[in-house]
Symmetry: C2
Subunit: 154 residues, 2 copies
DNA sequence: CGCTAATCGTTGGTGTACTAACGATCTCGC
DNA sequence: GCGAGATCGTTAGTACACCAACGATTAGCG
C-alpha cells in the first residue's frame, strides 16, 4: 500500500534519519521492558500464582461487586475474548462464579466467591508492595510525575 | 502517595489500606494500558503487518548486522523461546535468513535479506511517527522527562 | 408490532512471553 | 586431553491479547 512511497527527502537526509533511530530509545520498546520488569516483580511477590491480569480482574470485582463479564473486561482493559479466558481460569480455581442474568439472557454475571474475596484481600497488600518495588528505581520526587504522565498516556 | 504506610497490621489499618487500593492508579495496570494504546497506534501505522516485536528484531539486526539468534533476543529483550518464534516467522516471510556458524556449531546466525533490509528501511520512518503519535498526549515539556523516567524503570 | 441495529458471549486463529526440560556443543581448569 | 559447567537452541505447556466471524438476545425506531 505504501510501496509507492517515494522518498520525499534526499538519500542523505533519509540515511541520517535512519541512523538516528535507536531502538532502545523508543517509547514502545521501553514500555515493553518496563512492563516486563514489573511482571517479574509481580510474579515474585504475588500469592497463589495470580497473574497481573487475574489479579486485576479480582481486584476490580472486589471494587465494584458482581458485574457482567463484558463490563468486567472493559473495566480491566481486556477484550471479550481475553476476559473470558481469565474468568474461566478464575472460576476453575474457585475464586469466581458465573451465572446468567434473568432480566437479560445475554449477560453472564461474574462475582467473587468467599474464597475469592479472602484471597484478593490477602493479595492487595502484595499489590501495594509490588507497586512500590516497581517504582523503587525512580528518584523519590519523580514518582508522582511519572504516574501522572503515564496516566495521561493510557 | 502515602507515607502513612501503616506498618502495624491492625484490622483498621488493613481495611483502610484495602479501601485505598484503586486498580486504575497502579503502575502495572497503567503500563499495560499505555502499551496497549501504543500497540494499537503501531498496528495502524506500520507497514507489512509487522508487529512491534518483529519490527524490533529487524531494526536491531539492521543496527548491529548479522547476529546469533540468542544474542538478538538479548538485544531486543526476548527470551530464547520467544525470539525463536519471531525469527521463524520473519524467515518464513523472507525478511531474514538463518545459517549455522562454522566456528561454533551451537550458534544460529541470523541476518536480514535484501528484502528485509529494504523493508526495515521503509518501516523505520513509520517507527518515528509511531513514537511521536504515542507521546502526543503528553504535554510537550513532559515528554523528555517521561522517557527519562521510563528508561530508568526498564 | 416488527425489523434493524446494537450488545453479549463464544470460538478459532495468530502472535507474544515465560518456564521447564532436554540434547548438542563449547570453554575452562586441572 | 578430559570432564564439569556454561551456553545455545528446541520443544512442550500455560497464559495473555487481539481479530474476525458467528449465534443469541435485546433495544430502539418506524
Amino acid at each position: 500500500m505504501s510501496s509507492a512511497q517515494a522518498p520525499a527527502t534526499s538519500r542523505r537526509a533519509r540515511t541520517s534519519a535512519l541512523k538516528r533511530y535507536v531502538l532502545d530509545e523508543q517509547v514502545g520498546f521501553l514500555l515493553r521492558k518496563a512492563y516486563q520488569r514489573h511482571a517479574a516483580i509481580f510474579a515474585a511477590s504475588m500469592i497463589e500464582d495470580l497473574t497481573p491480569t487475574q489479579f486485576a480482574a479480582m481486584a476490580k470485582l472486589w471494587e465494584v461487586g458482581p458485574c457482567s463479564q463484558n463490563r468486567l473486561g472493559r473495566l480491566t482493559a481486556m477484550d471479550a475474548a481475553t476476559i473470558k479466558g481469565i474468568v474461566d481460569r478464575l472460576t476453575r480455581r474457585g475464586f469466581t462464579e458465573a451465572r446468567s442474568e434473568r432480566n437479560d439472557a445475554r449477560l453472564v454475571m461474574v462475582q467473587l466467591t468467599k474464597l475469592g474475596r479472602e484471597t484478593i484481600e490477602r493479595a492487595i497488600p502484595r499489590g501495594v508492595k509490588i507497586t512500590r518495588d516497581t517504582l523503587a528505581l525512580l528518584p523519590r520526587d519523580g514518582r508522582a510525575t511519572f504516574l501522572d504522565l503515564l496516566k495521561k498516556l493510557s
